[in-house]
Assembly symmetry: C2
Amino acid sequence: MTPDDSGLPIRRSDPALLTELRSIVGERLSVAAAILDRHGRDESYHPVHAPDAVVFPRTIDEVSRLVRACAARRVPIIPFGTGTSLEGHVAAVEGGVCLDLTQMDKVLAVNTADLDVTVEAGVTRKRLNEHLRDTGLFFAVDPGADATLGGMAATRASGTNAVRYGTMRETVLALGVVLADGRYIRTSRRARKSAAGYDLTRLFVGSEGTLGVITDVTVRLYGIPEAISAAVVAFPDLKSAVDTVIATIQSGIPVARIELLDALQMEASNRYSKLNYRVAPTLMFEFHGSAQGVVEHAEAVQAIAVDFGGADFQWATKPEDRTKLWQARHDAYYAGLALRPGAKGWPTDVCVPISRLAECILETQKDVAESKLIAPIVGHVGDGNFHLVILVDPDRPDDLARAQQLNERMVARALAMDGTCTGEHGIGLGKREFMAAEHGDALDVMRMVKRALDPTNIMNPGKILPAVGPEQ
Amino acid sequence: MTPDDSGLPIRRSDPALLTELRSIVGERLSVAAAILDRHGRDESYHPVHAPDAVVFPRTIDEVSRLVRACAARRVPIIPFGTGTSLEGHVAAVEGGVCLDLTQMDKVLAVNTADLDVTVEAGVTRKRLNEHLRDTGLFFAVDPGADATLGGMAATRASGTNAVRYGTMRETVLALGVVLADGRYIRTSRRARKSAAGYDLTRLFVGSEGTLGVITDVTVRLYGIPEAISAAVVAFPDLKSAVDTVIATIQSGIPVARIELLDALQMEASNRYSKLNYRVAPTLMFEFHGSAQGVVEHAEAVQAIAVDFGGADFQWATKPEDRTKLWQARHDAYYAGLALRPGAKGWPTDVCVPISRLAECILETQKDVAESKLIAPIVGHVGDGNFHLVILVDPDRPDDLARAQQLNERMVARALAMDGTCTGEHGIGLGKREFMAAEHGDALDVMRMVKRALDPTNIMNPGKILPAVGPEQ
């Protein structure tokens, strides 16, 4: 028992609570150490914080009853999807009950005529696209991991297609959410637009489980384009590659993907994904449209790239070649990790206005060189978003200290450029310390919203909002 | 003096308040009846509710001090732009001080390299586009009226371009907002995407002045397309026209605009805008892209339209012809009003999933016929959004009763189709009664947010949220 902010005891391993949880989910509850451990870690360097119990609900009603049971005892609730987040989002820092939603995995309604689909929170993006295979439609948001749609909505996930199709912010049409008091709401209707009150959909997208548990997700779909073409282009230096991106975006050419990998990442990806590209700063492009349109856009971008010294254009028009290319891109994180066997990743990302992107990346690369750490750079550069994967041995305090400094310098630089401390990974535990610098008094508005929707602070406590003395 | 929810008196015409307001804005304060009256009305049938005073701030600091002065006395604050809203958004239903923001009319920063611009809230959409004329960029959101960007953000405005470029929801990158306690915040950075905490930008977009006063707006811009082509097509009946829209959207052809006008609206627009189109259900299209792309898309849509009986294609490729065409479309509301001299408009709009659009429009047209009222139908049909402009004599209770019934039936139908009670006009006063039916318990979440950000209910009280006994 530990005191909470009101002085009441939190009885998180209360046997009566476990009995009540079992009365809701039966055998779908675990307190086995291995299961708890797996649910207290993500794919990053963040230390494990295991929950006290893990439950596997299968219905909205079960989620609602689980939340009520925890709420009655002020026990924290941590929603969990695939555990592939990168900023400690799922760490049970105050203990509590982890709601593993992966058994809520039904595709509820495919509305091909309306280009949308509603799924339970535990459906993953790859499974959804397999399900959609015969419809001619696809779900466009593609973070590296095969994450669940609930998790992707909760973290406002993004990916390589965002420059053309948007992030989860633009893609989610409506959410089903169980509130901190156990009530279930739908945040919106399926209409493409609405001016009917506050935008609760966007409020819950990116809220990282701190305002409620997302149980179902309605997202937009897009028609698979008539023609798709991808190209890989090597550049003499990083600046030339980034300047090509900036010129492409400013020219308004509708690229579907435009990804940057630095020379180190290319080396890592060649090795991990068994590719044979030149080890040089590289852009990966994809174009979607009509047969004619794709050729037109590709030629326009090629002309820009050549102006900046781009060479060795390799085109991938066959589906299997493109699949291999983008799988390699999605595996960039794991490829980076393999550069230093046994290392953990300290993955960080920022996003800046496109006009500042070259400067931000180049200065970051200088910092990396000075840090003596291994840290490849990759980025969804069409959005002004890039990542640094700093390889650390979590048992070496010196590694962690240097990684932290690298991260702090990168974030400070992005903020000074009117950018954000994270373009797509989220805040979780890892970036709370930057929230005040980024948001100023707007952080207080976030606190007001949090207190209003979760007055006893049971929904994934300790995430997003930095501590402010005893009450948060 | 009237009691507020806490039993404290609201001293709205307190001479000390007027003195304090004058100390902030000097002579830029009016209590003249004509000025008060003009600020208590919009462009619809809603009755005038004049504020007690109108102030014309010119800086964020002035807005902040005005809000603090009112907040100290619990006096309502109503932000005002051009007064072109349609659901009573600016009505001072509890009296108070109107903040006319039209003197905050500076374009603060055009970032051509980042395709964005920051303006003060009082800049109108046409002035912004004039300002941008030499940049090759344009601001895409275009409601009928030449509204201010502050007002457009506050009402989540939309328009004919939304099917391609999005509404204010997608277009606003960041807002400056003065909170109910007088503090100024920026809701976001200029980066194109962010996962850094709750999406305050989207929370304030569409909040109709009930959570704070929007003082500045950063929006995305787009490059003026290389080629633009517009077409007007007449159909034998409304169903054929709507079915053409549905097939076009489902096929994924990237139309920039796709507008429906029924025969009555065409008659009204021909007369008002001195045009000579066939009086028949009509679609107006626009295509944006490369010279080749525009031809390709136009041909694809033409083929669909011909399949559904579309005829009399009239192409407008010259800029002056297109300007005339779209000005006529934007004037559709005023053209409709002219059908019944002296009448006021009861404009209403709904938005439904595109698969239900034909059914929704046809049943609405039947209701119109039975109502014996004059009510043309126009719509941004590519989004599933359409409008009915019911012409009423506000002095005839029978007119109002029939219009109300028509509106209620249309909204109920849209909700039954998983649509929304308003696609773009907003809730204001006029649609509060539908909020519970549309949102269920999610309406409580909106109330929680409102109470958290505006605990004394001084920010445009009486809007969006329906009354629930004494405390709201």
